[in-house]
């Protein structure tokens, strides 16, 4: 039995968590009380993600033959992929990564793409834009929550990102008023707010932003949100924020969405679809594209070649022509940048299965 520190890979808050391994397998969690962000407290999803990501694990390369996935050797897989990369122009090749890769892996993939002249590359950011374009905005950090004089929350932050929710309660305990807004009337966030606003359309809500909230906003207030219907929403929100000089705390979806923005273009759904429509060879890196779908049809069947670099057999990887199995988060070392821009490094907890390869190795062979 061995207990090791790591950083939770489930959401962008960046909590510390201890993983327990036994006989080379991760089998449980233990509170990491010294971690400054969460002091040993983790939510259920954070505590169970080590189990969830091991489901449908894939540890040997697979190739599609007569519409069926069969095991293959790394050599065969690489030579087939390389053939198809060679027979397509750089503009016909596209790469979709996810907000859950480490900064180091992102750097490797970016390098690869640049050296091949591949420009069709990005990740789905759930409509969050690149913050780099908003230099004049004031982004709040976790400490600021303590010193705020008013919090306005959009989305069910207390349930979705509980370790930011914790800081909302700490502020509340200091007498800070908290307002919230969401699609639903009855959420854990709403019942813990002094005032709650229900909306049907986020966009309309921002267009007719209630004076009651506007009047409370000032330079020491913070708007926390984890949902956006479109990048457009963000711009509307920015206007409200700028008028009141308040700060924002956008809570991104992936454990390294923030860091990934330093390497790749964040795409909304339309931009992602456009990228996919332009290319003939698709490489996904731990990007389960079909879960982004929400019913809009994303078609992944019409590529000359579809290569999924992934850890598990999911909706997306299972329709790929080739699957290259890679390491799980706790089988590698690296850094994540959390939603307030803090870089946190973590060490490997256990070794990856020998039949898998690291992102670094895979891209060095392509």
């Amino acid at each position: 039995m061995l207990i090791k520190h790591t950083i939770c890979s489930f959401c962008s808050v960046g909590c510390g968590i201890n993983l327990i391994s036994n006989n080379g397998k991760v089998v449980g969690t233990y509170p990491y009380k010294k971690h400054p962000i969460n002091e040993g407290k983790n939510c259920l999803r954070g505590r169970s993600s080590y189990k969830d990501i091991q489901e449908n694990r894939i540890i040997v390369p697979h190739q599609k033959q007569q519409n069926k996935l069969v095991e293959s050797s790394w050599e065969d897989a690489f030579s087939l992929i390389n053939e198809s990369l060679k027979s397509h122009s750089q503009d016909e090749i596209g790469i979709v990564v996810s907000g859950e890769l480490t900064n180091e892996e992102n750097a490797i993939i970016k390098n690869f793409a640049e050296s091949r002249g591949i420009k069709n590359i990005g990740f789905y950011s759930h409509n969050f834009p690149n913050f780099k374009g908003y230099d004049d905005l004031s982004f709040a950090n976790y400490e600021d929550l303590k010193n705020a004089n008013f919090l306005f929350i959009i989305g069910n932050i207390i349930v979705d990102n509980p370790l930011i929710g914790r800081r909302v309660f700490m502020a509340k305990d200091n007498g800070v008023p908290v307002f919230s807004a969401d699609y639903s009337d009855l959420t854990t966030t709403s019942i813990n707010s002094d005032k709650h606003f229900k909306f049907f359309s986020f966009s309309d809500f921002l267009d007719e932003f209630p004076n009651e909230i506007k009047n409370e906003l000032n330079k020491d207030s913070i708007i926390i949100f984890n949902i956006l219907e479109s990048i457009d929403n963000f711009d509307k929100l920015v206007e409200i924020v700028k008028k009141s000089n308040s700060k924002i705390l956008p809570v991104l979806p992936g454990s390294n969405s923030f860091g990934t923005m330093n390497y790749f273009l964040p795409l909304d759904k339309n931009e992602l679809k456009e990228l996919l429509s332009k290319i003939k060879v698709l490489i996904t890196v731990e990007a389960d594209i079909l879960t982004y779908d929400d019913g809009d049809n994303i078609n992944l069947h019409n590529f000359d070649s579809f290569i999924a670099i992934d850890t598990s057999l999911n909706g997306t990887s299972s329709i790929a022509d080739t699957i290259l199995p890679t390491s799980l988060w706790f089988e590698k070392s690296g850094t994540f940048t959390n939603t307030v821009g803090t870089n946190q490094s973590f060490e490997k907890v256990i070794e990856a299965p020998e039949t898998t390869n690291s992102i670094e190795h895979i891209f060095s062979e392509l």
């Binding site: 036994n22 509170p31 009380k33 983790n42 259920l44 370790l163 914790r166």
Partner: protein, 380 residues
């Protein structure tokens, strides 16, 4: 053998590395080197003195890395034994709360204590690592990183700096302002865990030695063998020393009693306040999962929440299950409260319930040898 002994390591390095003569470290080394045990479960610094984490050690050379007391490490090891180490011959170093949790688990046949050497520590309390560092900045005017050691002595929390200087602040003063030891530690009344094989501490000890109370037959043999094999030396403390230790124990028990009255009665949250707390609950089961006593095989709690919905849960139902299933066995370790993401002072309810149960039945969780008659294993 006398019931009370002073012991210390015979190894110079361990003597200096250890908290009070390194007696525990040398006893553990003896157990590993002579292969009396398969391994040792104790606490080790991970990154620094605020970062104590349980380790399972099988190599006697590695045991030196675990020497010293970490007061900012509110760990719990009982459930680690039942989950991962129940098939091993094991020595474990425990605070009173760990020892009481072990006692409860052994009573529930989670593991067999015959395979276990339980080495107890007197415990004045632990601090949460993050608040402790803020406290050293605020009240000691120190950079927490410059502190290489902390101890609780003579009513003070004393720190030792890299440059050799010391600084202490009265615990009373810190705790009055909401800092200091965890709340459950303030009210913790078991300061010397006697449900162990031996108990070690500095109370009453000569400088550089550990005062040890030998409890069980196993403990007697352990000390004898470790002395015989040259790992530790021992001497008999004076009556005066024994008296000092007993007195300190009494003082601490009284203090705990004072805190209990305050936390569980006069300043116990009102019903309205509890309603407010339950509204916060995000149903993460963190409190249940970390509780060393909560070990029902088929937890009923999950059944209440099978269908996820947007409506907030009813945490009262959930906590109600825990109250009826385990509160009589609550050992006040505070783990549930430590891990609750939304800061609900959970251990107050459970410990208050155990104290009520104790008044009615005489059953002291973690101490009384038999499980209470009402306890029915079918519910487990």
């Amino acid at each position: 053998m006398s019931k009370f002994l002073e012991i210390r390591s015979k190894n110079k390095d361990i003597c200096t590395l250890g908290e009070c003569g390194g007696s525990i470290t040398s006893i553990l080394q003896y157990l590993l080197e002579t292969k009396v045990v398969d391994g040792v479960l104790n606490i080790k610094k991970y990154d620094d003195i605020y970062d104590g984490v349980p380790v399972f050690i099988t190599d006697p050379k590695e045991i030196l890395e675990t020497a010293g007391s970490l007061h900012c490490a509110p760990t719990m090891v009982a459930d680690l034994i039942s989950e991962y180490l129940d098939d091993k011959k094991l020595a474990v170093v425990v605070k009173p709360c760990d020892a009481m949790a072990i006692n409860e688990l052994v009573k529930r046949n989670r593991f067999n204590s015959e395979n276990l050497f339980i080495i107890g520590l007197n415990c004045g309390g632990t601090l949460m690592p993050e608040p402790a560092q803020r406290m050293f900045e605020l009240f000691y005017d120190l950079n927490p990183e410059d502190i290489i050691k902390e101890e609780i002595d003579k009513g003070q929390i004393i720190v030792l700096l890299k440059d050799g200087t010391e600084k202490g602040v009265k615990i009373d003063e810190l705790e009055e302002k909401g800092w200091g030891r965890r709340e459950n530690c303030q009210r913790c009344e078991v300061k010397i865990p006697r449900n162990t094989d031996i108990v070690c501490g500095n109370w009453g000890a000569t400088e550089g030695w550990t005062f040890t109370e030998v409890i069980s037959e196993k403990g007697v043999k352990l000390i004898n063998d470790a002395v015989k094999d040259g790992f530790i030396e021992s001497k008999t403390p004076s009556d005066k020393q024994i008296e000092i230790r007993a007195k300190l124990e009494k003082i601490m028990e009284k203090l705990a009693d004072k805190f209990q009255k305050k936390q569980l009665n006069t300043e116990y949250p009102s019903i309205e306040k509890w309603d407010e707390y339950w509204n916060r609950c995000i149903e993460c089961y963190g409190c249940r999962d970390v509780c060393p006593i909560c070990w029902c095989n088929e937890c009923e709690i999950e059944r209440f929440f099978e269908n996820e919905s947007l409506t907030p849960p009813d945490p009262l139902t959930f906590q109600g299950v825990r109250l009826t299933h385990m509160s009589f066995s609550c050992i006040n370790c505070g783990q549930c409260e430590d891990v609750c993401p939304v800061h609900i002072p959970l251990s107050k309810i459970y410990y208050k319930a155990q104290k009520n149960y104790r008044e009615n039945t005489g059953y002291i969780a973690g101490i009384t040898d038999e499980l209470p008659p009402l306890y029915s294993p079918e519910n487990e």
